[in-house]
C-alpha cells in the first residue's frame, strides 16, 4: 500500500505547461556518398530513431539512422519514378512512408524499404469528391487526415484510404497550411495568415479557435505537429523559429531563429518529434536537416 502511495506521489504526470528547450545536436548535410542535400522540405521519424528526409531539390528520399547523437553510416537513397517532388512526409506505425508530392499534389505511399506501394486514392468520398491535399497527417491508429483546401475540409480516412468522416473548415479563416492530431485525438489546424490554431475535439464535427492570433510571436507558421505530452509545435517558416504552445494553446516559448549557423533555421518546412524527445527539422533554405534534443 505504501509502495502504491509513493508511486502515485512520484508519478510523472504529463504537464503540458512545462517549458522545453531545443539543444542542438548535429546536422545532416549529405548522403553517404557525399552528395549534398538540396532544399529538403520533409522529415519523418519514429521512436526507433529512423529518420527519413525528403531531399526535395534532388527528387529523392533518404533514410538515416540516428544513434548516440550521431547519424550512422549507411544512409539509403530512395528514388522512384512516381516520386517527382517529395515534400511533407509521415511514417505510420508499420514504418510505411507517406509523402506529399508537390508537383502532382498527391500522397504517395511507400513500403518501409522505400518501394513505391501506391498513390493514396480515397474511396467513398461524399460530395464534393474533388480534393486537393495541402498537407496531411497520420494518427496513432494509422488513420490519415488530409487537409483538403479545395473542398474546405479535413478528410479522415482509414489506413486503406476508405472515407471515415470529414470536418468542414470554420466559417472565417485565413489559409490553412497544415493539420495535426494530438494524443487525445483532437485535430489541429494552423491558419498561417492569422497565426491561429484551430482545434476539433475527437469525433467532433466542427473546428473552434484554440488560440487568438499569435502574430506577435511569429511571422508565418506553416507547419504544425504535437508531442506525446500534448504540446503543440509551430514551425514559423518566415521567422525561422519553432513556437511551442501548451495543449490549451497557451504560448510556452520560442526556439531558434533566422540564420545560417548551426542551431539557426532558414525557412524551415517540417518538424518531426519522436517519443525519445528527438526533434528533426527540415531546414530547407539551409539545405540541411538539423537534429535537436528536447530538454525540459
Amino acid at each position: 500500500m505504501a509502495g502504491i502511495l509513493v508511486s502515485v506521489l512520484f508519478l510523472q504526470v504529463p504537464f503540458s505547461g512545462a517549458a522545453v528547450k531545443f539543444r542542438y545536436i548535429t546536422s545532416v548535410y549529405t548522403d553517404d556518398k557525399g552528395m549534398p542535400l538540396m532544399q529538403p522540405e520533409g522529415v519523418a521519424c519514429n521512436n526507433k530513431s529512423i529518420l527519413f528526409v525528403a531531399d526535395t531539390g534532388n527528387g529523392r528520399l533518404l533514410r538515416y539512422t540516428f544513434k548516440d547523437e550521431a547519424i550512422e553510416a549507411g544512409a539509403v537513397e530512395i528514388k522512384a519514378d512516381q516520386l517527382r517532388y517529395p515534400g511533407k512526409m509521415k511514417m505510420n506505425s508499420k514504418g510505411e512512408i507517406y509523402v506529399l508530392d508537390g508537383k502532382q499534389r498527391t500522397i504517395i505511399r511507400m513500403t518501409p524499404d522505400g518501394e513505391f506501394k501506391n498513390y493514396l486514392a480515397p474511396t467513398g468520398l461524399p460530395s464534393p469528391s474533388s480534393y486537393v491535399p495541402r498537407n496531411f497527417t497520420i494518427d496513432m491508429k494509422d488513420d490519415i487526415y488530409i487537409l483538403d483546401i479545395f473542398s474546405q475540409r479535413v478528410l479522415v480516412l482509414d489506413p486503406e484510404g476508405n472515407y471515415l468522416r470529414q470536418i468542414p473548415f470554420p466559417e472565417e479563416y485565413g489559409f490553412f497550411s497544415d493539420v495535426a492530431v494530438d494524443s487525445r485525438g483532437s485535430v489541429l489546424l494552423i491558419d498561417s495568415i492569422n497565426a491561429m490554431v484551430y482545434a476539433a475535439a475527437k469525433d467532433s464535427a466542427s473546428f473552434y479557435p484554440l488560440t487568438e492570433s499569435l502574430r506577435e510571436y511569429m511571422r508565418f507558421p506553416a507547419n504544425l505537429t504535437t508531442d506525446n505530452r500534448g504540446r503543440i509545435y509551430l514551425v514559423d517558416r518566415n521567422g525561422g523559429s519553432i513556437i511551442i504552445l501548451g495543449q490549451d494553446g497557451s504560448f510556452l516559448g520560442r526556439q531558434s531563429g533566422l540564420g545560417l549557423k548551426e542551431g539557426r533555421l532558414n525557412y524551415p518546412s517540417q518538424l518531426c518529434i519522436n517519443n525519445k524527445g528527438e526533434a528533426f527539422i527540415a531546414d530547407t533554405n539551409n539545405s540541411r536537416v538539423q537534429i535537436f534534443e528536447m530538454v525540459e
Partner: protein, 438 residues
C-alpha cells in the same frame, strides 16, 4: 394692515424688489468678480486681433466667434496648448462636436480619427459652407490627388461628382456606420438611389442578368473611367464583349449569377496554355488550387490594375503575406536604409517571385538567388572584392555557397542598413571572420 406705520403690502413689495435685483445683479456680480469689461470674452479681442474682423464678415462664421465668445475655445492668459487653446486640438472640437465620429463606425476619415479638423475646416470662418477651407471636390483632391486627377481626365465621368455635393453625394466626410470607404451606404443600395435597376435600358445593358443586388464596383469605377459605362480601365474581355454567359449560367436559368465551374477550372477554358504551364511546375502557389482559386488575387470583371489584380501587387500579396509586406514598409521608412532593393521600394514582389508557380524554392523566378536573380539588376561582380559565387562555400553551412543572401535579406531588414542581415557591417563580417572579433 399697518405695522408701526409701515404697510405690510408695501414691505412685501420692497423685499421682493430687493431679492429680484439681487438675482439680476448676481451674474453681474460674478463678472464683477473678474472685473471683466463688456465684450471681454471676445469682442475686445478684435482690438488686437484685427484680422478676425475680416473673418467675421465671412459668409459662414463659427457660432462662438459670431457670438463674440473667443473664450469658448481660447484661454485669454496662458495655456499649455498652442494658440492659447483651452484643450489639445485632438480633443477641443470633440467637446462640442461629439457625434462626428460615431462609436459603431465601419470606416472613418483618417483626419477625423486624428482629430485634425483644421485640415478641412477653418476654425473661425470662411465663405464655404461648414466653414470649409475650400469648397466642393477641390478640398478632397488636395489629399486625394490621384483620384482627383483621374476624375478630371477620364472620358466617361460619373455625373454625381459634378452635381451639387460632389464627392459627398456618395461619401460621408467624417465616418460611415454603414459601409467602408466612408460610403453613405453599402453597394448597391448607394448606387440604386440614382440608377434605377428596373428600367429596361438597365436590364439590357446588363444582359438581363439580375445584378440589382450585386456589388456595382465589381465592374464600374465609381470615379469614372475611359471605358464606356465607366467600367474599370482594365476589364476582362468577357465583360467588355458582354459575354457574361462565358462564365455565368444563362440569365434565364434558376441561378443565373452562379459560375459554371470552380474558378481555376473555369479560367482554364480560355487561359489554357497559361494554366497548363502553371501546373507543370514543381511548386504551385497553393491559393491557386483552393476553392477560390484565381480569384484570390484577380478580379473576374474589371479593375484599375494590370492583369486584373485586385489591387497593387504589394497589397494583394500582403493580404496573406502581411508579415513580409510590413517588413518591407519598415525598411522603407527606416532612414538608414538608403540603399533598398527597387522591388522592395516599389512593392513589386513579382520581380523576384512568380505569383503562380515555379520550379524554385519560395516561388523564385530564378534558381539561384544570387547571380541569376539579383544579378539581373545588381552588378554583383563589381559589388565588392568579397568572393561571391558557387565556388565559394559559406563556412556557416557547407551546403551553401556565398551568395547575396549570405549577407542580405531580400525583402527588407527593418532597422538594418543596406538590407544587411545584421545591424552593422562589423557584426555581419565576424559571423564568418571570427578571427576579426574584437
Amino acid at each position: 394692515m399697518k405695522i408701526k406705520g409701515v404697510h405690510l403690502r408695501s414691505a412685501t413689495l420692497f423685499s421682493f424688489c430687493i431679492i429680484f435685483s439681487f438675482i439680476i445683479a448676481a451674474p453681474a456680480y460674478s463678472k464683477g468678480e473678474f472685473k471683466l469689461k463688456a465684450g471681454a470674452r471676445g469682442k475686445i479681442c478684435l482690438k488686437c486681433h484685427e484680422t478676425f474682423k475680416k473673418t467675421l464678415k465671412s459668409r459662414y462664421v463659427h457660432p462662438l466667434l459670431k457670438k463674440g465668445e473667443c473664450t469658448g475655445c481660447h484661454v485669454p492668459h496662458t495655456s499649455s496648448h498652442k494658440n492659447l487653446l483651452n484643450a489639445d486640438t485632438t480633443k477641443l472640437c470633440y467637446e462640442c462636436h461629439k457625434k462626428v465620429l460615431p462609436e459603431n463606425a465601419r470606416s472613418a476619415h483618417q483626419v477625423v480619427v486624428e482629430a485634425n479638423c483644421n485640415k478641412c475646416h477653418n476654425s473661425h470662418g470662411s465663405n464655404n459652407k461648414f466653414i470649409l477651407i475650400k469648397s466642393g471636390n477641390e478640398l478632397c483632391f488636395d489629399c486625394h490627388k490621384d483620384i482627383g486627377d483621374n476624375i478630371k481626365n477620364v472620358r466617361f465621368k460619373h455625373k454625381s461628382l459634378e452635381k451639387d455635393k460632389g464627392c459627398l453625394n456618395c461619401h460621408n466626410p467624417h465616418a460611415s456606420a454603414k459601409s467602408n470607404s466612408l460610403l453613405r451606404n453599402s453597394m448597391p443600395a448607394l448606387c440604386i438611389k440614382c440608377h434605377k435597376t428596373n428600367k429596361s435600358t438597365f436590364k439590357r445593358q446588363h444582359m438581363n442578368y439580375p445584378v440589382a443586388k450585386s456589388d456595382c464596383s465589381s465592374c464600374h469605377n465609381p470615379h469614372g473611367s475611359n471605358v464606356r459605362g465607366a467600367i474599370f480601365d482594365v476589364a476582362h474581355a468577357a465583360v467588355t464583349e458582354r459575354k457574361c454567359d462565358k462564365c455565368h449560367q444563362k440569365p434565364s436559368s434558376p441561378n443565373p449569377l452562379k459560375i459554371k465551374k470552380q474558378t481555376t477550372q473555369l479560367c482554364r477554358e480560355c487561359h489554357r496554355d497559361m494554366v497548363a504551364q502553371t501546373f507543370n511546375k514543381n511548386r504551385v502557389h497553393w491559393p491557386l488550387v483552393d476553392k477560390v482559386g484565381c480569384l484570390n488575387c484577380h478580379s473576374p470583371h474589371a479593375t484599375k490594375q494590370q492583369k486584373l489584380l485586385k489591387g497593387p501587387v504589394a497589397n494583394v500579396c500582403g493580404t496573406c503575406h502581411s508579415d513580409t509586406v510590413e517588413l518591407q514598409e519598415w525598411s522603407i521608412n527606416n532612414p538608414k536604409n538608403d540603399r533598398l532593393c527597387e522591388p522592395v521600394k516599389t512593392g513589386n514582389c513579382i520581380t523576384c517571385h512568380s505569383p503562380h508557380a515555379s520550379d524554385n524554392v519560395l516561388l523564385m523566378t530564378q534558381k539561384s538567388i544570387s547571380v541569376d536573380l539579383c544579378g539581373r539588376c545588381h552588378e554583383w561582380e563589381t559589388h565588392s572584392t568579397h568572393p561571391i559565387g558557387e565556388k565559394f562555400v559559406d563556412i556557416r553551412d557547407k551546403n551553401l555557397s556565398v551568395t547575396c543572401l549570405s549577407c542580405h535579406r531580400a525583402c527588407g531588414t527593418g532597422n538594418n542598413p543596406a538590407m544587411l542581415t545584421f545591424s552593422s557591417t562589423y557584426e555581419l563580417c565576424i559571423q564568418c571572420h571570427i578571427e576579426r572579433r574584437r
